[in-house]
C-alpha cells in the first residue's frame, strides 16, 4: 500500500519538512502531489527520527501545509538509459523535453555515480587534436581529461567550446558522442549550441540536458549529475569517446549556495558551503578512462569568473580539481583576438605524457616550453616599455616586443572555422621563435633547435 504523507510542518525556500514519516531512506526520491494536479519531485536530504527534510527540485511555489501529499519511492534518483538517448533533449532532471516521449530504458543508473577506483583507472595519454593552436601546442587536451575554460561574461567561450567539439569530432568518426549540460544559461545560448551542433552534423550524436536560466534553481544541482551519468553509460557501456560540455559551472555553484543557505548551513568563503570542493570534485572526477575499456569521458566545463577574478572560490576550487585550465583574457578579447586564450595561466597537467615523440612530434615539449618562457619575458619587456618608452629598450627587448605581437596575432589568433594540423601549429611556433636572438632560446636543446628552428 502506498502511504501518502500530508503532515508538512515547515516550508523554507526549496525545503519541505515532513513529520511522522515511517522508514524514510536517506537520499531517496519523493513525489509531491499538489491539489491542482501538479507533481513535483524531491529528495531526502536530512533525517531526524521521523522528521524528514525534502529538497524540492521544482521549488515550493504554491505549496502549503494542506494542499500537498507526499509519496516516497524508496529509491535514489535514477536515470533511464539506452543507446537511443543520442540525439535527444532532456530537462535538468533527465525528463524528455523534445516531445519524443519517454526513453525505453535498457538500464537505470543511480545519478550520484560511484567513485572510480584509482587502481582501475587508465592514465590518459592520447591527445585530442582540437585544431586550435594555442590549445594543441601549449595546453594540449588529452582524452579522459577534465580541462575547464575559465572565462568571463561577454567573452567567446561558447564559440570556443563549439569549435573544440566540432573540430575534435572529425578524428573520432563513429565512436564519438557529445553530452551537453546547460545550467542556468540563457535560452538563446542553448539555442546557439543546438544550431551549431546541427550545422556541423553532429546533432544525432549529442545528448542535451537543459536547465535554462528561467528553470527551477534546485533542479540545476541535479543537471550535471544526470549528464555525467549519461556520459558514463555511453563511454563505459557503449564504448564511445564522450566529450562533456558543462556550462555554466558558476550558475551551478550559485544554486548550491542558495540551497545551502536555505538549509542554514555555516558558510565558508563568499557564502559558499564548506563542501563546495567535495561537491565539485564529485562531478569533475567522473572524467577519465578505465583500464580495459574502450570509451572515455573527457570534460570541458565552462565557468564565468565573477568580475574576471581567478581567485574567486569557484574558479579557484575548480582549478584545484581539474587537470589544468584554459583561461580567457579580456585584454586579448578586446584586441579582437579569437580565441582570447591567455597562454601563461593556461595549463594542461596531462600534456607532458601525451606529447612529444610517438604522440605529436619530438620537438613539441621543447617548443611549448620555449614559447611560454619567451612570452613570459614579453610581459616584462612590455611593462618596462610602458615606463621608459619603446625607444629606450635594448635590442633584445625590442625583438621580444615584436615577437609578442606576432605571437598573439598569428599564433593565438585564428578563425572560427580554421582547423590547424599539429604540424602547422608547431612549424608556425618555430617560425615565430626564429626571429628572436639565440641567447633568448635558452630552454631548448641544440639538436632540436637546428632541426626545426630555421633562421
Amino acid at each position: 500500500m502506498i502511504i501518502e504523507y500530508t503532515k508538512i510542518c515547515e516550508i523554507n525556500g526549496s525545503l519541505v519538512i515532513l513529520d511522522g514519516v515511517e522508514h524514510p531512506v536517506y537520499e531517496e526520491i519523493a513525489h509531491l502531489f499538489l491539489d491542482n494536479g501538479e507533481m513535483r519531485t524531491g529528495r531526502v536530504v536530512k533525517i531526524d527520527g521521523k522528521k524528514v527534510t525534502l529538497q524540492v527540485f521544482e521549488g515550493t511555489r504554491g505549496m502549503s501545509a494542506f494542499n500537498t501529499k507526499v509519496v516516497f519511492t524508496g529509491e535514489s534518483m535514477h536515470l533511464s538509459l539506452s543507446p537511443e538517448i543520442l540525439g535527444r533533449v532532456f530537462d535538468g532532471l533527465g525528463r524528455p523535453k523534445d516531445g519524443l516521449g519517454e526513453v525505453y530504458p535498457e538500464k537505470k543508473q543511480d545519478v550520484n555515480g560511484a567513485p572510480i577506483n584509482p587502481v582501475a583507472r587508465e592514465y590518459p595519454k592520447n591527445y585530442i587534436r582540437t585544431g586550435i593552436s594555442s590549445i594543441d601546442a601549449l595546453a594540449t587536451l588529452i582524452r579522459g581529461q577534465k580541462l575547464p575554460i575559465f572565462s568571463g561574461s561577454g567573452m567567446k567561450h561558447n564559440e570556443l567550446a563549439v569549435q573544440i567539439v566540432r573540430q575534435s569530432a572529425i578524428a573520432d568518426s563513429d565512436d564519438f558522442a557529445v553530452v551537453f549540460a546547460a545550467m542556468g544559461v540563457k535560452n538563446d545560448v542553448a539555442a546557439y549550441f543546438r544550431s551549431q551542433f546541427a550545422a556541423s552534423n553532429v546533432m544525432n550524436r549529442v545528448v542535451m540536458f537543459l536547465n535554462l536560466a528561467n528553470d527551477p534553481i534546485i533542479e540545476r544541482i541535479m543537471t550535471p549529475k544526470c549528464a555525467l551519468t549519461a556520459a558514463e553509460y555511453l563511454a563505459f557501456e557503449q564504448g564511445k569517446h564522450v566529450l562533456v560540455v558543462m556550462t555554466d559551472m558558476t550558475s551551478y555553484a550559485e544554486a548550491l549556495r542558495e540551497y545551502s543557505s536555505s538549509r542554514g548551513e555555516i558558510p565558508s568563503r563568499k557564502g559558499f558551503p564548506g563542501y563546495l570542493y567535495s561537491d565539485l570534485a564529485s562531478l569533475y572526477e567522473r572524467a577519465g578512462m578505465i583500464e580495459g575499456q574502450k570509451g572515455s569521458v573527457t570534460q570541458i566545463p565552462i565557468l564565468t569568473m565573477p568580475n574576471d577574478d581567478i581567485t574567486h572560490p569557484i574558479p579557484d576550487l575548480t582549478g584545484y580539481i581539474t587537470e589544468g585550465q584554459i583561461v580567457l583574457d579580456r585584454e586579448l578579447s578586446s584586441k579582437g583576438i579569437y580565441p582570447p586564450v591567455s597562454v601563461l595561466p593556461s595549463l594542461s597537467r596531462l600534456m607532458k605524457d601525451g606529447i612529444g615523440e610517438g604522440f605529436t612530434r619530438e620537438d613539441h615539449p621543447a617548443l611549448s616550453n620555449q614559447l611560454l618562457a619567451s612570452y613570459a619575458k614579453v610581459q616584462d619587456a612590455r611593462a618596462l616599455s610602458s615606463v621608459i618608452g619603446e625607444d629606450e629598450l635594448s635590442p633584445s627587448d625590442k625583438a621580444l616586443l615584436k615577437f609578442g605581437k606576432e605571437f598573439e596575432e598569428k599564433f593565438i589568433c585564428q578563425g572560427f572555422t580554421e582547423c590547424r594540423s599539429i604540424e602547422e601549429t608547431l612549424d608556425l611556433g618555430w617560425k615565430l621563435l626564429s626571429q628572436l636572438p639565440d641567447s633568448e632560446l635558452d630552454r631548448t636543446d641544440e639538436k632540436i633547435l637546428k632541426k626545426y628552428c630555421k633562421k
Binding site: 524514510p24 531512506v25 536517506y26 537520499e27 531517496e28 536530512k46 533525517i47 531526524d48 527520527g49 521521523k50 535514489s76 550520484n112 560511484a114 567513485p115 572510480i116 577506483n117 584509482p118 587502481v119 583507472r121 587508465e122 592514465y123 590518459p124 563505459f236 555555516i266 565558508s268 568563503r269 558551503p273 564548506g274 563542501y275 570542493y277 567535495s278 570534485a281 564529485s282 572526477e285 567522473r286 581567485t311 572560490p313 579557484d316 582549478g319 584545484y320 580539481i321 587537470e323 585550465q325 601563461l344 595561466p345 597537467r349 596531462l350 605524457d353 615539449p365 618562457a373 613570459a376 619575458k377 618596462l384 615606463v387 621608459i388 629606450e392 635594448s394 627587448d397 641567447s439 635558452d442
Partner: protein, 584 residues
C-alpha cells in the same frame, strides 16, 4: 553486546538517540551494509557518528554495532607496495570485488591473510621482552626486510616460540606471559589506533639532512631527517610535481604517499610510474619501498580526514623497525576542509573562514608526530613530514597556511609567476625559508665539503642583491646600471636558470648528488670572482658576455653528467683561460 539504532542522518553524520555505552573515537558498523564509522560526539540525547562511506540508502532503525576498539589500522607485512583507501582498505582487492567503481560496505582485511611469509624468529624461550622489541623478521619486498615487533603494550617472559618457517599474518609466532600471568599470543599482525602516536624511547636532535637531489631544496632550503616541511602553492604551481620528485628521489627507506582529496588520475600516475622506476640506491622497483594511500576528491569526506592519520601511523610503524620514513601528504588543505565540513554538519561554532577552532591543535598534533627518535628497541628511526598546502586563491594568509607555518620549520613557497614562466621547481627563493640550515651545516661540512655552507651563503646573497636591483631595473631598465651591478644580474641569472631551475624530465638533472651541487656552485662563484677582476679593470662586461661563459654555465647541468664531477675542473680552467685572455 548491545546494539543501537540509527535515529538521524545528515550527510556523513549519523546520530543514535539516547545514552549509549559507545566510547569517543570508537569504531562502529553502521547499517545493514556495515559501513565503517567513528564516534565523534556524545551527549545525553544523541551519540554522533561520522561515517567513512556514502550514507545514501540508510534508513532510521538500521543497526549500529559497536566494536569496543578505537579507529585502528592493521600493521603487518604486505603493506609495502600496496595502495589503500583512507581507512586502509586495499584498493586492488576492492577492485576484484566491485569492479572499476567502488561500492559501499566492503569490509576486507588490509593485507592478505593467506599469504605465507618466510619468517625468522628472533626470540627464544625464557627471554624477557619489552614492547617494541623485534619478534621476527621476514623479507617483505625485494628491498625491505620487515621486522615484526612486540606490541608496545606487551612485556613479560617468552614462554613459547615457534620455529622459523612459513607463517601467515594470523599465525602465532611466540607467546609471552606478562607479570600478571596473562598469556599474549604474538603474531606478525598487530593493530594500532590511528590517532595515538606510537611510543618511542626518546626524541633525538635533528642533524642529518633528507637528501632529495633537488638543488633548491638540498642546497638552499634543506630539510632534516625527522623534520617537517610545508609546500604551499596555488593550483598549477607544481605542488604535486614537487611531491612526486621527493617521493621518487629522497633518501628515506620508506615512503608513504598520501593523496588526500586530490585527483584520481594522479594516484594512477604515481602507481604506474613508481612500479616502472627503479630506486637508484637499491636497484629495485620504487614501489617496493612505497605505500600509497588514496582518498581522491570524490571519495567520502570522512575517510579523507582519517587518511592522514592512517599514513602517519604506518610511517611510525616502519620507523619503529629502525627505518627512515618520509610521508608526503598531498594536500593537507583538503584534510582541513574535511574537518570543516564535518564540523559544519555538527553545527559547531566556526572560527576563521568557517574552519573549526581546533584546526591549529589538530595540525600541530599531526606535524609533531615527525621527528628523529630512539625507538623502544634501541634502534634509531625518523619520520619526516612533507605536507602540501593548497591555499584558497593563492592567498598565503588563509588559516591553513598560516597555522601550518607555525608547526613546520621548512617553508617552500611555490610561486605563480615562476610557474607561469615554467621555472620549476617554482620555489620562490625570497619567500621560502628553512630553519634547519644551521643544524645541518655540520653534516654538509663533514660529508660534502667544508666549503659548502659558505658557497650557499654567497649564492643566497647574490640572489637577494639581485632582487633589490630588479626593483630599479623595473623602473629604468638594465642598460643604465653600472657594470658591477650588471654582473650581479648576469650571475644571478646563471644561478636562477642554471642552478635553481631543475628539469624533472631530464635523465641526469632529475636527481643531482650533493657533490655535483657543490661543484656547480663553485663554478658559478669562480666565474663571478674572476669577472669581478675584469670589471675592476674598467673592462666592459660585454667582453665577458661575448665569451659565452654565462650560457655555458647555464647548460652545465645537462653537459656534465652526474657521474663525471671531474669535468668541472676542465670547466674552471676554461673559465680561467677565457678571463685571462680578456685581462691580457
Amino acid at each position: 553486546m548491545s546494539e543501537y539504532k540509527i535515529y538521524g542522518i545528515n550527510g556523513p553524520v549519523v546520530t543514535v538517540r539516547g545514552k549509549t555505552e559507545l566510547q569517543m573515537t570508537e569504531t562502529v558498523y553502521v547499517g545493514e551494509n556495515k559501513l565503517i564509522g567513528e564516534v565523534i560526539g556524545l551527549t545525553d540525547e544523541y551519540t554522533t557518528i561520522q561515517v567513512y562511506e556514502e550514507t545514501g540508502g540508510l534508513t532510521p532503525g538500521e543497526p549500529v554495532a559497536p566494536t569496543n576498539s578505537p579507529m585502528s589500522v592493521t600493521l603487518a607485512p604486505g603493506i609495502l607496495g600496496n595502495i589503500f583507501d583512507g581507512i586502509e582498505r586495499p584498493l586492488k582487492d576492492v577492485q576484484k570485488i566491485s569492479g572499476a567503481f567502488i561500492d559501499k560496505g566492503i569490509n576486507i582485511p588490509a593485507v592478505s591473510e593467506t599469504k605465507k611469509w618466510q619468517v625468522t624468529v628472533k626470540l627464544s624461550v625464557g627471554d624477557c621482552v619489552q614492547g617494541g622489541e623485534v619478534l621476527a623478521t621476514c623479507p617483505e619486498t625485494d628491498s625491505i626486510t620487515h621486522k615484526s615487533l612486540v606490541p608496545p603494550n606487551v612485556s613479560g617472559t617468552v614462554t613459547k616460540v615457534f620455529p622459523d618457517g612459513e607463517y601467515t599474518v594470523n599465525d602465532t609466532i611466540a607467546e609471552v606471559t606478562d607479570k600478571f600471568g596473562q598469556i599474549h599470543e604474538l603474531k606478525l599482525k598487530q593493530r594500532w589506533p590511528i590517532r595515538i602516536p606510537r611510543p618511542t624511547a626518546e626524541r633525538l636532535p635533528l642533524s642529518k639532512p633528507l637528501i632529495t637531489g633537488q638543488r633548491v631544496i638540498d642546497t638552499v632550503f634543506p630539510i632534516a631527517k625527522g623534520g617537517a616541511a610545508s609546500i604551499p602553492g596555488g593550483f598549477g604551481t607544481g605542488k604535486t610535481m614537487t611531491q612526486h620528485q621527493l617521493a621518487k628521489w629522497c633518501d628515506a627507506d620508506i615512503i608513504i604517499y598520501v593523496g588526500c582529496g586530490e585527483r584520481g588520475n594522479e594516484m594512477t600516475q604515481v602507481l604506474n610510474e613508481f612500479s616502472e622506476l627503479t630506486d637508484p640506491r637499491t636497484g629495485k622497483s620504487l614501489l617496493s619501498r612505497t605505500v600509497l594511500i588514496a582518498n581522491t576528491s570524490n571519495m567520502p569526506v570522512a575517510a579523507r580526514e582519517a587518511s592522514i592519520y592512517t599514513g602517519i601511523t604506518l610511517a611510525e610503524y616502519y620507523r619503529d623497525m629502525g627505518y627512515h620514513t618520509a610521508i608526503m601528504a598531498d594536500s593537507t588543505s583538503r584534510w582541513a576542509e574535511a574537518l570543516r565540513e564535518i564540523s559544519g554538519r555538527l553545527e559547531e561554532m566556526p572560527a576563521d573562514e568557517g574552519f573549526p577552532a581546533y584546526l591549529p591543535s589538530r595540525l600541530s598534533d599531526f606535524y609533531e608526530r615527525s621527528g628523529y627518535f630512539k625507538n623502544l628497541n634501541g634502534t634509531e628511526g625518523s619520520v619526516t613530514i612533507i605536507g602540501a598546502v593548497s591555499p584558497q586563491g593563492s592567498d598565503f594568509s588563509e588559516p591553513v597556511t598560516q597555522n601550518t607555518k607555525r608547526f613546520t620549520r621548512c617553508f617552500w613557497a611555490l610561486d605563480k609567476s615562476l610557474a607561469y614562466a615554467r621555472h620549476y621547481p617554482a620555489i620562490n627563493w625570497t619567500a621560502s625559508y628553512s630553519e634547519y640550515t644551521n643544524e645541518l651545516s655540520d653534516w654538509y661540512k663533514e660529508n660534502v665539503s667544508p666549503d659548502f655552507t659558505d658557497c650557499r651563503k654567497r649564492i643566497t646573497e647574490i640572489l637577494s642583491e639581485e632582487s633589490n636591483l630588479m626593483e630599479i631595473v623595473k623602473l629604468i631598465g638594465a642598460d643604465v646600471l653600472p657594470d658591477d651591478q650588471k654582473l650581479i644580474i648576469e650571475i644571478a641569472r646563471v644561478i636562477r636558470v642554471g642552478f635553481l631551475q631543475q628539469n624533472a624530465f631530464h635523465s641526469d638533472d632529475t636527481f643531482v648528488p650533493a657533490l655535483k651541487q657543490l661543484k656547480m656552485m663553485q663554478s658559478i662563484l669562480h666565474l663571478y670572482d674572476r669577472s669581478k677582476e675584469v670589471i675592476a679593470r674598467q673592462i666592459p662586461i660585454s667582453k665577458i658576455t661575448a665569451t659565452g661563459l654565462f650560457d655555458r654555465l647555464i647548460k652545465m647541468k645537462y653537459d656534465i653528467p652526474n657521474k663525471n664531477p671531474e669535468m668541472f675542473d676542465t670547466l674552471c680552467s676554461d673559465i680561467d683561460k677565457a678571463i685571462n685572455e680578456i685581462l691580457r
